[in-house]
Amino acid sequence: MADLTIKNLRKAYGDIEILKGIDLEIKDHEFVVFVGPSGCGKSTLLRSIAGLEEVTGGQIFLDDKEITELAPAKRDLAMVFQSYALYPHMSVRKNMSFALELAKQDKATINEKVAEAARILELTHLLDRKPKDLSGGQRQRVAIGRSIVRHPSVFLFDEPLSNLDAALRIQTRLELARLHHDLNATMIYVTHDQVEAMTLADKVVVLNGGQIEQVGSPMELYHHPVNQFVAGFLGMPKMSFLPGRVLSGDQSGINVELESGVQLQLPISGEKVAKGSDVTLGVRPEHITVTDKDSSTFQGRLDIAEHLGSDTYCYVQTETKQTLTVRAPGTFPGAYGDTVGLSLDLSHCHLFDAQGKAIHKLSRSAA
């Protein structure tokens, strides 16, 4: 069993607070991703769990055993560093067996474990090479192998894919997903790339400024973000935001007027919202359609259209100089300066109050 519980974790460097009270539960076998912008504290959180940083306050428990003050080696965790941190003067085999040697395990067991890890990661033919003779992807696998041999309760990954080129990144992402499945271990993974978060995680933890914004499954966070930050962070291309004002609202819906004057009736609970208050409308590119000018909700001028083949992403400027990102079919011609009509899928629009918090929808529809 490898349940990790974090209670009110705080970390400060002198006067600067990096982690401002983190509460988190991670269940056995879960693949948890810490994601957030640079400086949000996700690496610090990971390193605090690992024991490489001392915490200023709070507690960490592994299966009900408190590990907050324990040395890293005694926490039964293994970490894969962003730069792989391989021992350059040791062969691949030695790199992987080092920890076991330090733990004074017998040679036969060590060889067995190393061989097994090498097999899983397809490193068997590289065992006698030194790190400098390996490619980036191979080095990364050795770093992972080093963790596997220890059979830890929890695997920690610190931005493992960021040093790989694009093609290798995608391939390794798939391998990591496969690895999680095969080892069935608890994995905590830190990244700034929301695509990795969406594709790999069982549970996503979005961090910002040292605090947790939201925790949940990728789909949960994608379709039901609790605030504007999470909504804007997940999803590629980003959600578009339009400022507006509440005209009227009750428990059956809200009437919102956008800056441009367009009025929309949204299936969002208007109970707790005051008339005239400022709100922000959020809508994802796939929930805006290009229609012909006359039958549209409103119009805009096409700035740039990015033709990807499968889709066309159009960046449309409204009359009030807001930019909307719209997903159009791949065949959409889209010329610079065209006036296009836009239609919004109102049931999938999000509304955020003046503080950025999401206002509840009437029904929790997913896709």
Binding site: G51, E54, E69, A71
Partner: protein, 293 residues
Amino acid sequence: MGIAKKNARISRYMVSPSVLVLLAWMIVPLSMTIYFSLIRYNLLYPGENEFVGLENFEFFLTDEGFTAGMGNTLILVGAVLLITVVLGILISVLVNQKFFGQGIVRVMLISPFFIMPTVNALVWKNLLLHPVSGVFAAVSIFFGAEPVDWFTDYPLFSIIMIVSWQWLPFAILLLMTALQSLDQEQQEAARLDGAGPIALFWHLTLPHLARPIAVVVMIETIFLLSIFAEIFTTTGGGPGFETTNLAYLIYSQALLQFDVGLASAGGLIAVLLANIAAFFLVRLVGKSLTDKT
């Protein structure tokens, strides 16, 4: 106890031997020097060690050798600096191109630095500068000129030659290394813009070398202030005081005249001078500590 606190404690234990040892090295002799400089203490006249205030400093500064000593020190340091830095720049730039046997050339250029100062001094005095059998004499005769009796006629200059030869590699080595980090792309861009080799040197190379040159100047200054072995081995400070620098002067007062009080006063003055140079060097080095390049 937290991991960090434990580590902080261990690290303090690991650093303290060095600090304590160097602290002792600094404080004990220096304070003794200060003490001695304030009393009358001559090993030839034991017993009377009374406090005389700044008398020793007065004597030292008015000593017949002092003006010569200071002057010679400044001339020595200045001349060697000039020669080593100018030649150092030119040679290191010259050697920075690729050509046949570049490696061997570099090895030859830095060799003088590794020769013992006493060897250096005697090889120059005897084998090279000797007015009868020295190589310089032979070359002069070859060109039909009268050989120069270097150490008799130009003693200070002879010392300057010897010391410059010893320190030229230092400048070359440091500047050569600094040149390696010269931005190639910048040079190519300038060449495309039409810059010739002289323009390249003046506008790109020299500014890049400004910092290393400053380092060379400061480190050399600090060590050149204390030139001793070459003088000791060749001229013994003479004739008269012509090749006495500050360091040698103090030495002669301490170990030849046994006037401890006077020598200590002189020593403090030397320390003061060195401190001025050291101040700037430490600032420069400190900056390089925080720089990423």
